[in-house]
C-alpha cells in the first residue's frame, strides 16, 4: 500500500512539475503576445492622443579613475550627483585610483563578465582586449543611433584604438607629465630652480646639493609608481619623434634607449637621490614627504595639480616645470596627450534600458562646460576649446598652463604601447633593476618576449 502511495506521489510530483514548465512556457508566450498587442496599442495611442509615458529610472554601473588623490575626484562626484538629480537615474560608482591594480581589476571584470556599463579607461594598448573582444561600442556605432554623440569633440584627437584606428572612447581631459617642485626645499638648500634651460648634468648637481643639505632630492616610489621616471629617462635617449615606438630587439636603437634610460634611473638610485624607502614605500608615502617639504622634486601627471591642492593649504610653495632633458631631447619636449575616455560597454549597449542612460551620462559628462571644469590646465579634444577663468586657478595650476603652453613638443607615453602584463619586468621589477638583482638587458628582453608571445 505504502509503495502504491509513494509511486502515486512521485507521479503527481512529476506531472505537476511538467505542468509548471508547460504553464511557464504558455505564460511566457501569452505574455509576449500580450506585450506585443499592448505595444502595438500603445504605439497607436501615442501616435494619436496618449502622451509618452515617463521613462523608468535606471541604475548604471560606472567605473572611472576619478578617485583618491585625483584632482577631479570631487568634480566627478558633484557632476554625478547633478546628473542623477536631473535624470532620476542612479549611478553605482566603483571608481578607483589609476594604477596597475585598477587596470588589472577592470580587465579581470571584463573577463569575468562583471564589467561596468560605462567605463572611463585608457585608450592605448590597455584597451586592446576590450576592442578585440567586442566588449565596448565604437563611436561610429553609437552615432548611427545617436548622431549628436560626442559631436563637440574633434574626432582626430579622441584617441583612436591601436587595434583598428577607430574611436571608441570620448576623452575629457588630457594630461601632461611634468616635474613638480617644492620651492621651500629649493630655497632651504640654496640651489637654482630648474627651468626650461636646465640640462641633465645641471639637474644632477642640483640633486647632489639638495641631498647634502639633508633633503631627499626626488620623491618617487620605485616600488609602486616608477612610470614617470621610466618615460622621461627613456625619452632622454630616444630619437626625436620616436619615443612612442616599441623596441624590437634589445640591441636596436630604441632597445638601447630603454637600456640607457633604465640605467639612468639605477644611477639616480645609487646616488641616493630617491627616498630611503623608495623600494618599500607607496606613492602616497612619497607624495606626502614631498608635500611636507622633505623632498624637492616629483615627476607626475597634470592630475597631480589638483592632488597637491587637496593635500596642502600652502599651494604657492609648489610649482611645476620641465623634466631636465638630455641628448636630443630638449627639456621642453614633454610627454602628454589624451590617453583616456568614456566607453560604453557592449553589455550596456545591448540592454535597452541602459543604452539611453549610458549615452546620456557620457554626453552629460563630456559637455563643454564640464570638460572645461575638469581639464582647466590640461589638454582637451573640444572643438571650441576650454573656457577657463585663470584668476580662479591656483598659482600651481597657472604654472601648469604656462608649462604646457611653452612645450616645444608633446608625445604620448611609451607605456601606453605596452600591455600591463608585459610591463611587469620593468615596472613591478624596477626595484630589482635599480638594486642590481636583475640585469637591465635581461628585463628588457623579458618585456620583448612577453610582447612577442601575445
Amino acid at each position: 500500500m505504502k509503495k502504491v502511495i509513494s509511486i502515486m506521489l512521485v507521479l503527481v510530483l512529476t506531472f505537476s512539475l511538467a505542468a509548471c514548465g508547460k504553464d511557464k512556457n504558455n505564460a511566457k508566450n501569452t505574455s509576449t503576445s500580450t506585450d506585443k498587442t499592448e505595444t502595438t496599442e500603445t504605439t497607436d495611442k501615442t501616435e494619436t492622443t496618449t502622451p509618452e509615458e515617463p521613462k523608468k529610472p535606471v541604475s548604471i554601473n560606472v567605473t572611472t579613475t576619478y578617485a583618491g588623490n585625483d584632482g577631479n575626484a570631487q568634480n566627478f562626484q558633484d557632476a554625478v550627483k547633478a546628473w542623477e538629480k536631473e535624470t532620476g537615474n542612479k549611478v553605482n560608482d566603483s571608481s578607483a585610483t589609476s594604477d596597475e591594480t585598477f587596470k588589472a581589476r577592470v580587465l579581470a571584470d571584463f573577463e569575468a563578465g562583471a564589467e561596468p556599463d560605462v567605463l572611463f579607461f585608457f585608450n592605448g594598448v590597455d584597451s586592446n582586449t576590450l576592442i578585440e573582444g567586442n566588449k565596448v561600442v565604437s563611436i561610429d556605432e553609437i552615432r548611427a543611433e545617436y548622431p549628436d554623440y560626442a559631436s563637440n569633440m574633434k574626432d582626430a584627437m579622441m584617441g583612436a584604438s591601436p587595434v583598428d584606428g577607430k574611436n571608441y572612447s570620448v576623452p575629457v581631459n588630457g594630461y601632461w607629465e611634468g616635474m613638480f617642485v617644492n620651492k621651500t626645499v629649493i630655497e632651504a638648500a640654496g640651489v637654482k630652480m630648474p627651468d626650461a634651460t636646465t640640462t641633465w648634468d645641471e639637474f644632477l648637481d642640483i640633486c647632489q646639493k639638495i641631498k647634502d643639505a639633508g633633503f631627499t632630492p626626488i620623491a618617487a616610489s620605485l616600488a609602486t609608481v616608477p612610470h614617470y621616471w621610466f618615460e622621461y629617462s627613456i625619452y632622454n635617449f630616444s630619437e626625436t619623434g620616436k619615443h612612442n615606438t616599441l623596441a624590437k630587439e634589445v640591441s636596436d636603437k630604441q632597445g638601447e634607449a630603454w637600456f640607457n634610460g633604465l640605467s639612468d634611473i639605477k644611477d639616480l638610485y645609487e646616488k641616493g637621490f630617491f627616498p630611503d624607502n623608495t623600494l618599500t614605500g607607496t606613492d602616497d608615502d612619497t607624495v606626502q614627504a614631498f608635500i611636507e617639504g622633505k623632498s624637492a622634486f616629483l615627476i607626475d601627471g597634470s592630475w597631480k595639480v589638483g592632488g597637491i591642492e587637496g593635500l596642502t593649504d600652502k599651494v604657492d610653495d609648489f610649482t611645476v616645470t620641465y623634466v631636465p632633458g638630455k641628448n636630443a631631447r630638449k627639456s621642453t619636449d614633454i610627454i602628454g596627450g589624451l590617453s583616456s575616455g568614456y566607453y560604453i560597454t557592449r553589455k550596456a549597449w545591448d540592454d535597452p534600458d541602459k543604452r539611453a542612460a549610458a549615452v546620456d551620462f557620457i554626453t552629460y559628462m563630456t559637455r563643454d562646460e564640464l570638460v572645461s571644469q575638469f581639464a582647466q590646465y590640461s589638454a582637451t579634444a573640444l572643438k571650441n576649446g576650454v573656457t577657463v577663468d585663470e584668476s580662479q586657478l591656483s598659482s600651481l595650476a597657472q604654472e601648469g598652463i604656462k608649462m604646457a603652453a611653452g612645450a616645444t613638443s608633446m608625445t604620448g607615453a611609451l607605456q601606453d604601447l605596452i600591455p600591463t602584463e608585459c610591463r611587469v619586468p620593468v615596472f613591478d621589477g624596477m626595484p630589482n633593476l635599480v638594486s642590481g638583482t636583475v640585469d637591465i638587458k635581461d628585463a628588457i628582453q623579458q618585456v620583448l618576449d612577453l610582447l612577442a608571445a601575445r
Binding site: A108, E111, T224, D276, T280, D285, T420, P431, R454
Partner: protein, 295 residues
C-alpha cells in the same frame, strides 16, 4: 517508528546530495579544471587556452628554476614555523594562564579573540601605519626613546619579521579559544585530586592540562599548518607583489601575483596545484607526528 529512521538510509542520502552537488560544481570541478589549466597556455583570466604547453609539464619545470618560487616556499616554511610557535604556542601559553586565574577569564577571552573579528584588510592598513617609515607609530616611539634615524621596517632586512608579527597576532585568539574550550572539558576532580596529592600549579599544568589537551593541540597544529599555506590577505595588503625586491612572496601571494598581475594564468594554476599538494603532504606529516591518542 524510531527503528525505521535508523534502518532507512535513503533520506540521509537525499539530504547529503545537494551539498555534494554544490561541492562538486564549485570545488572539485574547478580543482580538476585547475590541474588541466596548469598544463595549458592561458594568458588572461577567462580567455580560452591556446593549447597545451610544450612540453605539457613546462610550468612545473619553470617552477623548479624560478627563484621567486623558491623564495615563496622558503617564506611559507618560515610562516608555518612562526605559526606553530607564535600562534599555537602563544595561544597555549595564554590559555593555560587564563585558565588558572579566577576572575577576569571572560575579559581576557574577549581581548584575545577580538583580532579575529577584524578584517585582514583593516589589520593590514593598521599595521602599515604602525610600521610606516616616516611618522609611523613604531619609529615615533623609538624617536621618543632617543633612537636617531628612521628604520625602514619594510626593507629586505626587516620585511619578513614585519610580515610575521601581524599574521601571528591575528590568529592567536582563534587557537586560544579552541584551547580554552579544551581546558574546560578537563574534569575539575583531577585537579582536586592533584592538590590533595600535593601537586603544585606548574605540576598540574605539565601532568594534567597539557597531556589531556594533546588532541586539541594536534587539531590546532594541523589547522595552523594548512592555514599557513593559504595565508594571503594580510601579507598582500602589507607587502603587495612580494615587495621589497620579491623577498616576501608566499606561495599564496605568488600564485595571486602570477595570475592577476602577470596574467600568467596557467603558471598560477600550477602554483595552486603545488599549494594543494604541499597542504596534503604537510597535514599528513602533522597527523603522523602528532597522532591523536585515546585517553
Amino acid at each position: 517508528m524510531n527503528s525505521n529512521i535508523y534502518k532507512k538510509k535513503t533520506p540521509i542520502f537525499v539530504f547529503l546530495i545537494p551539498a555534494f552537488i554544490f561541492m562538486t560544481i564549485f570545488l572539485y570541478y574547478p580543482f580538476i579544471r585547475n590541474i588541466v589549466n596548469s598544463f595549458q597556455s592561458i594568458t588572461g583570466l577567462g580567455t580560452a587556452a591556446k593549447g597545451f604547453n610544450e612540453p605539457w609539464y613546462a610550468n612545473y619545470k619553470t617552477m623548479i628554476e624560478d627563484p621567486n618560487m623558491r623564495i615563496a616556499i622558503k617564506n611559507t616554511i618560515i610562516m608555518i614555523i612562526a605559526t606553530l610557535v607564535g600562534q599555537v604556542g602563544m595561544a597555549l601559553l595564554l590559555a593555560l594562564l587564563v585558565d588558572n586565574i579566577g576572575r577576569g577569564k571572560k575579559f581576557f577571552q574577549t581581548v584575545y579573540f577580538l583580532p579575529i573579528v577584524i578584517s585582514a584588510t583593516a589589520l593590514g592598513l593598521l599595521f602599515n601605519l604602525i610600521f610606516l617609515y616616516d611618522k609611523g607609530m613604531l619609529n615615533q616611539f623609538l624617536e621618543i626613546l632617543g633612537f636617531s634615524g628612521l628604520i625602514d621596517w619594510k626593507d629586505q632586512h626587516h620585511a619578513m619579521m614585519t610580515l610575521l608579527i601581524p599574521v601571528m597576532w591575528q590568529y592567536v585568539g582563534f587557537y586560544f579559544v579552541i584551547l580554552i574550550t579544551g581546558l574546560n572539558t578537563i574534569s575539575e576532580e583531577l585537579y582536586e585530586a592533584a592538590v590533595v596529592d600535593g601537586a603544585t600549579k606548574l605540576q598540574q599544568v605539565f601532568y594534567i592540562s597539557i597531556p589531556l589537551l594533546r588532541n586539541v593541540v594536534c587539531t590546532c597544529i594541523i589547522l595552523a599548518v594548512t592555514g599557513a599555506l593559504k595565508v594571503f590577505d594580510l601579507p598582500w595588503i602589507m607587502f603587495p607583489k612580494g615587495m621589497p625586491v620579491n623577498s616576501t612572496f608566499l606561495t599564496g601571494t605568488y600564485m595571486y601575483y602570477q595570475t592577476f598581475n602577470s596574467n600568467n594564468v596557467d603558471y598560477g594554476s600550477a602554483i595552486a596545484v603545488v599549494i594543494v599538494v604541499l597542504g596534503i603532504i604537510l597535514s599528513k606529516v602533522a597527523n603522523k607526528l602528532f597522532k591523536e591518542k585515546d585517553y
